[in-house]
């Protein structure tokens, strides 16, 4: 393994405990005590995964750091928050580009399991599924991870990509939420129903003509989601 993981948290006790746990699990751990230090470490250490606390004293909070990282890389980001109350808070974090949002306090074992699930997801998303879809407006090459919308190359996060891939592999069929959670996020996540909701809406914003009236990714109320192929002649520019 030996993946390098960056942990950014202003609480020394937490930062070190998380770090020690991950070290014991065999990861290489880099610690940073605030946003700026975190960003510096990200550039210098190139970690495979970043754990970010949202509320940090000092100038930069976790959300900002997350956005700054996203401008540069797809590196999976796990957010930790002590402040989230409503789903809106979680959604805000996910929208900032995080792949995972955990609410403190989190158990170390669960934390470690989620880290490994997240890393696994990234690896899986680069798998061998060979499929090319093109209707003139949307062009997807799953194998090469290349997506063009209206002939413009767009960028998807690993989770978004994985989600799209699972839906396209089952195109025309409804994928139940639990299945989606299990296949995209991992078995540990089957109850975190807000993940698909957030990611679907992000995905729609990126690939649909009108995210409010989706044509590719359709919602089956309280069941799941379905990818619908479009006829090439429906393409409009």
């Amino acid at each position: 393994m030996n993946e390098k993981i960056l942990i950014v948290d202003d609480e020394l006790a937490i930062r070190e405990a998380l770090g020690r746990k991950l070290s014991r699990e065999g990861y290489e751990v880099v610690l940073a005590e605030d946003g700026a230090a975190g960003l510096r470490a990200f550039h210098s250490e190139r970690p495979a995964l970043v754990v970010l606390d949202i509320i940090m004293s000092g100038g930069m909070n976790g959300l900002t750091v997350c956005r700054r990282i996203r401008e540069l890389a797809d590196t999976p980001i796990m957010m930790l928050s002590a402040q989230a109350i409503t789903e809106d808070n979680v959604v805000e974090g996910l929208n900032a580009g995080a792949d995972e949002y955990l609410i403190k306090p989190v158990r170390l074992n669960e934390f470690a399991a989620r880290i490994s699930a997240l890393l696994r997801r990234i690896q899986l998303s680069t798998t061998d599924v060979e499929q090319i879809y093109d209707d003139g407006y949307l062009n997807v090459d799953l194998h090469r991870r290349q997506i063009y919308v209206d002939n413009k190359k767009i960028h998807l996060t690993p989770t978004e990509f994985k989600l799209l891939a699972v839906l396209m592999e089952n195109s025309g069929r409804v994928v139940p939420q639990r299945d989606l959670l299990e296949q995209v996020w991992g078995r540990e996540y089957v109850d975190d129903v807000y993940y698909p909701r957030v990611y679907i809406s992000q995905l729609r914003r990126k690939i649909e003509r009108d995210a409010a009236n989706p044509t590719y990714i359709l919602t089956e109320h309280r069941v799941g989601y379905r990818f619908e192929k479009q006829l090439p002649n429906s393409t409009l520019t």
Binding site: A17, R24, T86
Partner: protein, 734 residues
């Protein structure tokens, strides 16, 4: 016979006139009375005797024929004999000692005596006057003696000296006429007899006419007095006592008492000449004479209480002290309201049956008075109460800072208090105006229909009103009991409360957050420590670590519970169509393991036609799960938890019931408070944060629903949740 003295003649004429007068009066007044009949008989013969005597006196002056003379003598003799018999008969009747068939016998004697005398006259035996006289003497001796015998035997019975004197004079006068006709005292003896007759007449007239008439008028008068006295006043205790007094006075009773009926008991409420200690003495219906009278509604007359009444005594010592007793029911509108009892002492006068009728008369009046008095008192108390309540209410309404408005069915204002007038800028011009015009839109419910429906089904409706930067909670309730006559709205200024609540929530939230980082640090480090010590294998350290871990966990759950609650209170809700069946079965699925472990059976009961409702299905499920979880936790092994859902009017009802330990009565109202469980007896061993029910309530509130709990300590608890149902789908099958 010798010529009479002029004085005797005048006297006789006077007596004749008077006797005729008396005769007419008596006959006219009441001919059916026996005394009157015999009196008339007696007077008639007295008249005959006197007239005959007068005529015989004037016969020589007229120089009439011997035939006329013999006629007058016949009249005189027949009158004399008849008067003798009549006198005896009258005396016998007055003394009330007549034997059977007395009237017939009297008639027989008269026919015999008078007839024989007349026969003698008619057969012209007049020359031998001695024969006639001997006949007269014979009859006189017999009946005069009989008369004297009656007087001698029974004189105590009458105690009227004048009457006895009169009779003696009459008999004496008659006797005088036998002394010696030649002495010339015949006229004197007639006069003496006549004076005696007059005396008798006076007494008889007085006894038979004047006294009854006087008594009747006296009765009328006292009846009138009683009526006026008791009907012109309200039946206070004083008036009841007065009724008792009057009744005693009227009947000449030694004591009287009034019993009134209360709840099948008779209570002595007014007394006259009875011992004070007897007041408020109680009798059951049917007990004592009073109780018997009250239950049978029949008046009762007892000649002798001790002898005639063997039941329970009406009053203590009644058997020892009561003589004659009359008890009559007080009846109003066919109901016995009590009894009136008149009592004569052992040594007192005897009542008669007629006294009972009199008392009944008085009782009728008294019953009316008492009933009206009671009605009046009841009404007066009610009116007074109403007035004072009204006044209090009015004062409260006017002095309260809360705006209060009332409207009629058409939503026209009918009442506003000063606070309402100030808040809404109303003045008298607005009175009776429709509130849709008189009040700003913000003050009215958003949805009238919903408001009306809620008021109909629940009797009250609440909504928030924002006016001039203030928040009011407006409570609307029905006016009128049976049908809705209008509505009354009370506004509470909750601005500060809301702000306080907001600050409190904020503080709770902040605190909970601030606790989370230390908790995270502590828990994480503890986990690392545990991994370390587990490899060392020191049991005591592991035990300590486990304990710390459990406590941290508990802390975490409490914080999480508070945040859950805040999430529901603040959070945005998704608007899903919620299927009660799905909620119930999914909730049960989640808790099946827990129930099996505890040995508790979960019994769902979902009505087939149960309606859907709008809400956040996850939140709602969470609430139901919390309730079922509680029901399992607080149940006994082998217990049951019922999860029922059905329609209830425009609402969907969920009922979660257990047969567990129940909630003590004084805690039932507190179960929805945060952390209440900490204080519940019998539940100390049950783990949990005590926040579950607060969360349930928050969820139900955010769904515009209601939650209610019914519990019997030791028997079980049922929670009822109602949420507004979605409008029913129209059946498309048709």
């Amino acid at each position: 016979m010798l010529a009479e003295s002029p004085f005797a003649v005048v006297l006789n004429i006077l007596i004749v006139a008077l006797s005729m007068g008396f005769l007419i009066i008596v006959l006219w007044y009441d001919i059916h009375r026996r005394v009157n009949q015999f009196f008339a008989l007696f007077l008639t013969f007295m008249l005959l005797w006197n007239v005959g005597f007068l005529l015989s006196g004037i016969a020589p002056i007229l120089e009439s024929s011997t035939r006329f003379e013999s006629l007058t003598r016949g009249m005189t003799q027949a009158g004399f004999v008849g008067a003798s018999i009549g006198g005896w008969a009258l005396v016998t009747v007055i003394f009330g000692v007549q034997p059977r068939n007395f009237r017939r016998w009297t008639l027989f004697y008269i026919v015999l005596g008078v007839g024989f005398t007349i026969w003698l006259v008619l057969t012209d035996n007049l020359t031998d006057s001695s024969q006639i006289i001997s006949v007269s003497t014979f009859f006189f001796l017999i009946f005069g003696s009989l008369t004297l015998y009656v007087i001698w035997r029974y004189w105590r019975k009458l105690q009227s000296i004048a009457l006895i004197m009169g009779i003696l004079l009459f008999v004496g006068g008659q006797a005088g006429s036998f002394l010696n006709p030649q002495l010339g005292i015949t006229s004197l003896s007639v006069s003496v007899s006549s004076i005696g007759t007059l005396m008798i007449s006076f007494i008889v007239i007085q006894r038979e006419l004047i006294i009854p008439l006087l008594e009747r008028s006296k009765q009328l008068e006292s009846m009138h007095e009683v009526s006026v006295a008791i009907t012109s006043r309200i039946a206070t205790d004083a008036v009841l006592t007065e009724i008792a007094e009057r009744a005693a006075e009227w009947l000449g009773a030694d004591a009287t008492g009034i019993f009134l009926k209360h709840d099948n008991m008779l209570q002595l409420v007014a007394i006259h000449q009875l011992p004070d200690s007897s007041l408020h003495h109680q009798l059951k219906l049917g007990e004592g004479v009073a109780g018997l009278v009250a239950s049978t509604k029949e008046s009762k007359y007892l000649g002798n209480y001790r002898r005639d009444w063997l039941g329970i005594e009406d009053l203590p010592l009644a058997h020892e002290t009561f003589g004659s007793v009359i008890c009559v029911p007080l009846i109003y509108d066919n109901d016995v309201i009590g009894t009136l009892m008149a009592i004569a002492g052992l040594q007192g006068a005897l009542f008669e049956k007629t006294d009972m009728r009199l008392l009944e008369l008085l009782a009728a009046q008294a019953a009316v008075t008492i009933s009206y008095g009671n009605l009046f008192n009841t009404q007066k108390t009610l009116t007074d109460k109403l007035e004072s309540t009204n006044e209090q209410l009015s004062t409260v309404l006017r002095s309260t800072d809360n705006p209060v408005l009332a409207v009629d069915r058409n939503l026209n204002l009918i009442f506003t208090n000063p606070a309402a007038e100030e808040v809404f800028g109303l003045d008298t011009l607005h009175s009776r105006e429709n509130i849709r015009r008189a009040l700003p839109r913000a003050a009215l419910p958003l949805d009238y229909r919903d408001a009306l429906m809620t008021i109909r089904s629940r009797g009250a409706y609440r909504y928030e009103v924002e006016l001039d930067n203030k928040t009011y909670l407006c409570h609307v309730a029905n006016l009128g009991d049976e049908r809705i006559e209008g509505f009354v709205a009370v506004l509470n200024d909750v601005t500060e409360l809301k702000e306080l609540d907001r600050i409190k929530s904020e503080m709770v939230r902040m605190t909970s957050h601030d606790l989370k980082n230390p908790l995270q640090a502590a828990m994480s480090n503890l986990e690392l420590l545990r991994e370390d010590v587990e490899s060392i294998g020191d049991d005591e350290i592991i035990l300590s670590v486990t304990n710390i871990d459990q406590q941290l966990n508990r802390m975490y759950r409490i914080i999480d519970g508070i945040l859950d609650l805040e999430r529901v209170r603040l959070g945005s809700q998704s608007d899903d169509i919620c299927h009660p069946r799905q909620i119930v079965y999914e909730s049960i699925d989640e808790l099946n393991d827990m129930a099996t472990e505890k040995g508790v059976r979960l019994i769902p009961q979902v009505a087939d036609n149960v309606a859907n409702f709008m809400g956040d299905i996850d939140q709602f499920k969470r609430a139901i799960i919390n309730l079922i979880e509680n029901a399992i936790k607080f149940n006994k092994v082998g217990g049951e938890v019922g999860i029922k859902t059905q329609n209830r009017g425009h609402y969907v009802l969920f009922a979660i019931s257990d047969d567990g330990i129940g909630i003590p009565e004084h805690l039932v109202g507190k179960v929805f408070d945060r952390f209440y469980r900490a204080h519940q007896p019998g539940a100390e061993h049950i783990t949990g944060t005590g926040l579950g029910l607060s969360l349930v309530k928050a969820v139900v509130d955010s769904h515009n629903g209601h939650i209610r709990v019914e519990s019997q300590f030791g028997l079980g608890t049922t929670f009822y949740i109602t949420v507004p149902a979605m409008a029913r789908k129209i059946d498309v099958a048709s």
